[in-house]
């Protein structure tokens, strides 16, 4: 059971990291725009 929990935990961490930015859970700053805005400056 401990291995199943470890695998579930890993999947949850991954989901938070990948989908989190789209849900705005990291605060008001939208990290999705950063690279694009920097790119458009040049």
């Amino acid at each position: 059971m401990i291995w199943i929990s470890a695998a579930v935990g890993l999947l949850v961490v991954l989901l938070i990291l990948v989908i989190g930015p789209y849900l705005g859970i990291y605060g008001t700053r939208d990290p999705l725009d950063d690279a694009e805005k920097q790119g458009q400056k040049t």
Partner: protein
């Protein structure tokens, strides 16, 4: 022993059809870029078929029923869940890829620019090991299946598969592979939709349920521990496969930016239905006590015994089509990686577009023949090989995810994390269990990168990624 000419004839006819379609799509290929990512303007329909044709692999058609046979309902659900989730999550990643590195072409473009050269070469070496291993799983799986279920000698079926794949990928590269994929997916989906219901109507749904209740009641238990571990740890290695595999990055770039998330979401959901459908065939074998020579062969055996001879042939068509499309996509994915990431560094001076295109064609033949030769000795079974390579896949999940979103991700820490994760993953793989090795590899990679990068944060300039590949894209939008 007389050869089964009808079965061989089906495979040869299909092969000729794929080669003709591949030739048709190759007419428009005039540059190395088109050989690598096509026009970069695939919409939802062609984008989905390019994704589905690659991801409905020989494993989907054979190993999904195997997991249903081993772990019952949970095993069948696990395969569909893991593979589908991987594609859905990569959809979110693809959107970010289009934003931060819009002019890249391969996963190597990202990894090489985001990190340093030591990371880049480590990644390329392990990626090439993984891709060749994956190509070999398709060759071995196809060879064993065609030999044991359809009586086509192993060597002949491996040669036929690789011969056809090399022939249709040679001329048009990605364009041919994606074009043929459209027809391959139609074939596979028709079989996945028609054969399982046909079998169930023949034997009766109630009979299968009561048969399983009597002969294998534990396989009806959704909380089966082995099945749950396969569902969760399996999802981790399938996600790792998708993230580091260049074939998915190619498709992310080949699909229009506005459609990319939608395409991956729909493909993930659509894909999950295929392993679920074919895995349900395993329940018939469990209910009626059929024991295949190898659990891998349970689905074709059930299709043949309970669906009739025609159903057996159609299943042969679907499995072989899945094997061919996946092998073609893998060969093309590896070739494009070498064209884009290795040849320019080996050659003195920038290769011309024409030279690069010619290299791509030669490489297609070389990689195809390498896959053919390595497939002949039958080293491991398909699922064993995939789980073995899963330790490497899991180690690269977080370097890719954190590298795409977190500017503090430290390249030296990533390098150490990948080595440490792979080493501890394999130690656990051999000492405790294969799926456990994958979980450990993922956790070690994540914890080392986050802790190390918090202690010694980097400050990556996203501009570097944004500018990658920009000089190669003149004339494009």
């Amino acid at each position: 022993m007389s050869l089964p000419w009808i079965n061989i004839g089906i495979v040869v006819l299909l092969g000729i059809l794929f080669i003709i379609i591949g030739q048709y799509f190759s007419r428009k290929v005039s540059s190395a870029d088109e050989y690598i990512v096509g026009s970069g303007k695939l919409g939802v329909a062609f984008g989905m078929t390019a994704l589905l044709a690659f991801w409905i692999t020989g494993n989907t058609m054979l190993a999904a029923p195997e997991s249903g046979f081993n772990w019952g309902l949970t095993g069948a659900l696990a395969y569909g869940f893991g593979g589908g989730l991987a594609v859905v999550i990569f959809g979110f990643l693809s959107k970010r890829i289009h934003q931060v590195i819009p002019n890249g072409k391969t996963v190597g473009d990202f990894y090489g620019t985001r990190y340093d050269s030591k990371n880049y070469y480590l990644f390329l070496v392990l990626l090439i090991v993984y891709v060749i291993g994956f190509i070999v799983t398709q060759g071995i799986g196809g060879g064993i299946l065609l030999e044991q279920v359809f009586d086509i000698p192993y060597y002949l079926s491996v040669v036929l598969t690789f011969g056809v794949v090399i022939a249709y990928s040679y001329f048009g590269g990605f364009r041919s592979v994606a074009g043929v994929a459209y027809f391959q997916v139609l074939l596979i989906l028709v079989v996945a939709i028609v054969i399982p219901p046909l079998v169930y109507f023949n034997v009766g749904f109630g009979a299968v349920y009561s048969g399983m209740e009597n002969s294998a009641p534990e396989r009806l238990n959704l909380l089966n521990e082995g099945g749950l571990l396969f569902m969760t740890a399996g999802a981790v290695f399938l996600i790792g496969e998708v993230f580091m595999d260049n074939t998915f990055w190619q498709r992310a770039y080949a699909i229009r930016r506005d459609d990319v998330l939608k395409t991956f979401l729909l493909s993930g959901i659509g894909w999950a239905l295929v392993p679920l459908a074919v895995a349900s065939l395993a329940f018939v074998a469990l209910a009626f006590g059929d024991e295949p020579a190898h659990p891998n062969q349970v689905a074709p055996l059930v299709a043949q015994v309970y669906g009739g001879e025609a159903a057996g042939w159609f299943f042969l068509v679907a499995v072989w089509t899945a094997l061919a499309s996946t092998t073609a996509a893998l060969v093309n994915g590896l070739v494009t990686l070498v064209m884009n990431d290795i040849i320019p560094q080996l050659k003195d001076g920038e290769p011309t577009d024409e030279e690069l295109l010619q290299y791509g064609k030669y490489l297609t033949v070389m990689v195809g023949i390498a896959g053919l030769i390595f497939s002949l000795p039958q080293i491991l079974t398909m699922l064993e090989m995939l789980i073995f390579l899963g330790v490497i896949n899991a180690a690269f999940i977080f370097p890719i995810v954190l590298g795409l979103w977190w500017e503090k991700t430290n390249p030296t820490v990533v390098f150490l994390a990948v080595i440490l994760a792979t080493a501890t993953g394999y130690a656990v793989y051999f000492a405790i269990g294969d799926l456990q090795g994958i979980v450990v590899s993922g956790w070690v990679s994540f914890l080392v990168i986050v802790t190390g990068s918090l202690i010694r944060p980097s400050d990556f300039n996203w501009q570097q990624l944004y500018n990658t590949g920009i000089t190669y894209q003149e004339g494009d939008d």
